[in-house]
Amino acid sequence: MTRRTHRDARWLVAVLALGLLLVGCGRNMAEQPKVGTLQPSPFFADGSGSRPLLEGTVSRERGGIDPVFFTGQDAGGLVTELPIELSYELLLRGQERYDIFCAMCHGYTGEGDGMIVRRGFPQPASFNEPRLLDASVGYYFSAMTNGFGRMYSYASRIPPEDRWAIAAYVKALQLSQNASIDDVPAEVRRALELGDSEGSLPR
């Protein structure tokens, strides 16, 4: 071999060695071999990386294993009392969740005239009809949990404590729709007359 080809060979080796650095390129940090939320997985037959909960799975975080809290029923049927403490904060939470999940069909006042109903969904009964005015708080919880008529169950979308908050709010909504101005406490009435609808409510 001549000195010349020796030198060429060395250059070739150097370039090839640099080329080895390219092995380090890739997206294996950005796309790690792990299943993220909602990602598919060929490992399971249904192709989904998420696993459905087993039948009868009970959350230990939310109310332990109290069946009333999860079903709205006790030995005597649908409960008439909230299994959690009623507070102004609970009603506000119920109002917020009602406006998100229920008002679309039931309407913001419970009349059953929500936007989806106006777009063709069969109209639900008004919360202000006598049968539903008499229905217990457990009845509303049960309807949300198990579905009712054409309404699907919301159990997978609204956690139980929020379902209770909504049930409590529906009862409050019914009171509000069948109240007269005499039912309003004097100091709140003054605020209402001044056009301040929220000013004197407890916060």
Partner: protein, 217 residues
């Protein structure tokens, strides 16, 4: 001491130093140009198995973001709704519509609709929706006016530099918690004053926000 390398190696080393320097400079110039021009597919609609219209469902019908994206307040991931959520209305409304073919197939076969991901964070980023929602970062701050979109696309590049614009100075973007889901919210003229108040009120530790381990683990 014997010579280990022949004199010709000097040239190689010289070129390697020059070439290496040039390579680093070229990389530093090219990467930002690449990032700016590609812009991470901002504004490019992502095709989906169903031409879901956020503008119809959100702006016109007035459905809250959280009706479908139920976990956004409590979990890292803002879930894409299960077909059950779609079927809550579509078992009665627009039944049999060919536009919803993928939904009917999904429902009948108990298989998820394979939506295409729009915002794909690298796996080394541990983004958490609930942490942002509960600290006053509005939906539209990062996702734009999704309620006006007839398809779905990114409105922000979602690069680390973009994240840091807020992580370095959250007072520029924060809004009251009550306005987080309000798509019509516009920042007030005294945003920096309000933002600073919110940073204090929500106990946001701005020293922690710029630490690596906040997002990378």
């Amino acid at each position: 001491m014997p010579q280990h390398f022949p004199p010709s190696t000097n040239a190689f080393v010289r070129w390697a130093i020059l070439g290496g320097g040039a390579f680093v400079v070229a990389l530093l110039v090219a990467l930002p140009i690449f990032a700016r021009t590609m812009n991470n597919a901002v504004g490019v609609p992502v095709a989906q198995p169903i031409d879901f219209a956020h503008n119809l469902h959100s702006a016109q019908l007035g459905i809250d973001c959280r009706y479908c994206h139920t976990t956004v307040e409590v979990a890292a991931s803002a879930n894409v709704p299960a077909s059950e959520t779609c079927m809550t209305c579509h078992s009665q409304v627009r039944v049999g519509s060919p536009q919803l073919e993928a939904l009917w197939t999904s429902w009948e076969n108990d298989q998820a609709v394979r939506w295409n991901r729009v915002h794909d964070m690298p796996d080394y980023v541990y983004f958490n929706h609930s942490a942002h929602i509960t600290n006053g970062v509005g939906c539209s701050t990062c996702h734009g006016l999704v309620d006006q979109m007839d398809g779905i696309w990114k409105t922000e590049p979602m690069t680390m530099g973009w994240c840091m614009e807020c992580h370095r100075a959250p007072e520029r973007f924060l809004r009251p918690r009550s306005e987080v889901f309000n798509m019509a919210y516009r920042p007030p003229s005294d945003q920096l004053v309000l933002g600073s108040e919110l940073v204090a009120a929500y106990h946001i530790d701005t020293d922690v926000l710029i630490q690596c381990s906040v997002c990378h683990r």
